[in-house]
Symmetry: C2
Subunit: 150 residues, 2 copies
Amino acid sequence: MSTISKDRLRLWLRLLKATRSVESALRENLRQEFQTTLPRFDVMAALSQHGQGLKMSELSNVLKVSNGNVTGIVERLVEDGHVLREKVPGDRRASRVRLTPEGEAEFTRQAAAHENWIDEIFAAVAPEAALGLSEALDAVTRRLDKKENM
Amino acid sequence: MSTISKDRLRLWLRLLKATRSVESALRENLRQEFQTTLPRFDVMAALSQHGQGLKMSELSNVLKVSNGNVTGIVERLVEDGHVLREKVPGDRRASRVRLTPEGEAEFTRQAAAHENWIDEIFAAVAPEAALGLSEALDAVTRRLDKKENM
DNA sequence: GGAAAAACTTTCAAGCTTAAAGTTTCATAC
DNA sequence: GTATGAAACTTTAAGCTTGAAAGTTTTTCC
């Protein structure tokens, strides 16, 4: 097998390790400072970007997780009062999920802290390197997305 | 907040999305072709790199997952006959985990396929770019590792 | 209008993951 | 020697995750 293959494998292993490290740090910060979890944060972030709300299927699509998964997370967010389910007029199968005002306020606090954490962690990446990295990652994602729809 | 902060946040979101896409593809391939899972594969990969075996704590250290986690995965690998636990002479608390011959043979097949999958996925990344990316990612991991031990 | 297909969601079983608490063993300091 | 603290590991409870199956509701199309 070629050297290039080995380089690609090494790149993947580092990508994986870096992502896990960052996720682990975020998870701990979210737990310590906001008594919440990464999946909950991710759902609220998605909803925050879509003020009009998202259907369950849209949510699982955006987050790239399975349908059943979202059901449980939203359930717990509803219990916490951060999120609510609305009926979709004209389609009794679907429901739309939105942030409550309390959820929105809470997420605003979390997002500010989150941005600081990321800023500090990724200060390790030289700004010149960031662009190339970003594009390479995008290329990988696009390649996989394309293959999936075939 | 600065443009650079925003760029870093965007970088992180792409990193996350790319990693999840790759993991998802690998998970599906492992399931379809080898009836196994990513965590099992990761454990066997770690053991394969350490022919003399690893203690449970070493294993969870290498994989960056919690102690209790490894217990369960190794348990199932033992049931499958891929892995065995040995007593560590002179320390009755510890046990050393190693691949069985069957586990080794099976992992060899899996690893070959895995390398091909990675090779194909990361063909989207220009070989010249790979090294730079690798180092940027490493910088992130090192930064977090350092902070953790403080 | 009715049957079949598609869309939206939940339920389920199995497995993964973590943090925290518990058990046994070891090291070392008195 | 024995107390005390650290180390290695497992157990537990709660939550996350997936893929598959099943339950509704809507759409399609004859």
